[in-house]
């Protein structure tokens, strides 16, 4: 077996890359939420001066990308690879936003798990000696996602209480083989799990088994107990998915309840902001990680965090054909020390 592998799905990085900078830009609703002060920039209108939602999302990606470089005092020449993806068909938000970057580009699709998927790949590229610096970035936009997956914005319909609200925002990180942390020490790459949920308005319920599977696999592969972490945080399970995931992990003898949270519940005030079951979208775990979690790790509030972004791998076509929703979750261990 390859000497960096632990168990079935985990890689222990021998030369853990540092996360040298992160940046995030969010929409007005996200900015008005409980984590508003952690975001680098809050745009005040959803179009941000562009003509279409898609152009606006690409602009958010581009500006976030530039900020990540800027904060690390890096130039595009320093970056060996960009690993990026988003929700729009053929990933046009990230590729159009980054088409001027002149950096080797890997386009990935992991639905809302993209943030931790890109960090899985980026960390392994660096540890493998294939790159010095890798930039991981993703985005989502409520309006472009509604247009592609659901109904026109101005349609007077009601959202069911299980539905989630797609985050407007882009977040990303620059990983490097130089730097003084926080480090990515382990990555657990998820497998596709499908427990047969067909309701596209209940993605939390569909994704919860995938998140639980990855978290349990991570514990078994690494031998870590939940107490190893200060925070175990899923991407966008929402209230229903979080409850189910927590129960699934707890019943296997790993009690995570006192340190478990979900980015989809942290970014909005569920009561005040009318988002039903919580937030969703690639941007959800990306901006909560790049804004809140990264900054709190730097402050020392958290020493070790397990980030588990979660993705529902459905498409409008598969939903219309009444297919169930395959889901995935990828885990990344972020630690401010190397021991």
């Amino acid at each position: 077996m390859a000497d960096k592998r632990l168990g079935k799905q985990t890689v222990k990085l021998q030369n853990p890359p540092s996360i040298v900078s992160t940046a995030c830009i969010v929409g007005p609703k996200e900015g008005a939420g409980p984590l508003g002060e952690y975001f680098d920039m809050v745009i005040d209108d959803e179009l941000w001066g562009e003509k279409t939602w898609e152009k606006a999302e690409s602009k958010i990606v581009k500006e976030t990308y530039l900020r990540i470089l800027n904060k690390a005092s890096a130039t595009p020449f320093d970056v060996n690879y960009i690993v990026a993806g988003d929700l729009l068909n053929q990933c046009i938000a990230s590729t159009f936003g980054l088409r001027g970057s002149s950096v080797s580009h890997f386009g990935i699709y992991g639905a809302c798990s993209t943030m931790s998927e890109s960090m899985n790949i980026g960390a392994m590229l660096i540890d493998g000696g294939f790159a010095d610096n890798v930039l991981c970035i993703t985005s989502s936009h409520f309006c472009s996602a509604e247009k592609q997956f659901r109904f026109p914005l101005e349609l007077g319909n009601q959202r069911p209480p299980t539905s989630q609200w797609t985050v407007i925002g882009s977040g990303g990180a620059l990983l490097s083989n130089k730097g003084a942390g926080p480090y990515i020490t382990h990555v657990t790459t998820g497998k596709i799990v499908d427990m047969g949920i067909t309701d596209a308005n209940n993605m939390g319920g569909a994704m919860a088994p995938a998140a639980a599977d990855t978290i349990l696999c991570h514990f078994k592969d690494t031998g870590f107990a939940p107490e190893y972490y200060d925070l175990i945080v899923t991407g966008d399970l929402g209230i229903i998915g979080k409850t189910i995931c927590e129960e699934m992990v707890n019943e296997q003898g790993f009690s995570i309840s006192d340190r478990f949270n979900d980015c989809g519940l942290m970014i909005f005030d569920k009561k005040r902001q009318d988002v039903h079951a919580g937030a969703s979208g690639c941007g959800c775990s990306a901006v909560v990680f790049a804004g809140y979690i990264y900054k709190e790790i730097m402050k020392g509030t958290f020493r070790k965090v397990l980030l588990v972004s979660t993705g529902a791998l459905l498409s409008p076509t598969s939903s219309q054909q009444n297919e169930s929703i395959p889901s995935i979750a990828h885990a990344v261990t972020i630690s401010n020390t190397l021991e």
């Binding site: 939602w53 026109p152 101005e154 349609l155 007077g156 427990m195 169930s324």
Partner: protein
Amino acid sequence: MAKKMLKDLKPAEYRNYVESKSPKSKLLTNVFRAFLIGGLICVVGQFITNALKSRGYDSDTVGALTSVIMIFIGALLTGLNIYDEIGKYGGAGSAVPITGFANSIVSPALEFKSEGYIMGVGAKMFVVAGPVLVYGISASIVAGILYYLLK
């Protein structure tokens, strides 16, 4: 027998479990709001009808004119970013009347304007209302044939 572990549930069992964890729509509240908003829209329609009648139009013209005016109001409120808020509150109460029909055509037209007037507005305008038209017209044809045969 011990309670089954969640990870061992069959898809149908898991679906039931997720259902049991999911909040339900507030049926009574929604029905009441639909009644309120739907009723209000009808009151506006009746007001227009009465106003037209008092100006001496015959009943056919009054019916047609009222529909035209209500459709115009629905379309205008959609364009002004108001009808979706009414719909969020009123649900079926604002979806069923003719103003809701106007909303279901104008909202995709606005949304897909960015794809141009042919492949955007033209092709996507009936993406929501299309099924209503197809099956509404089909049903009226069936009803017409039955009426002819049974007359």
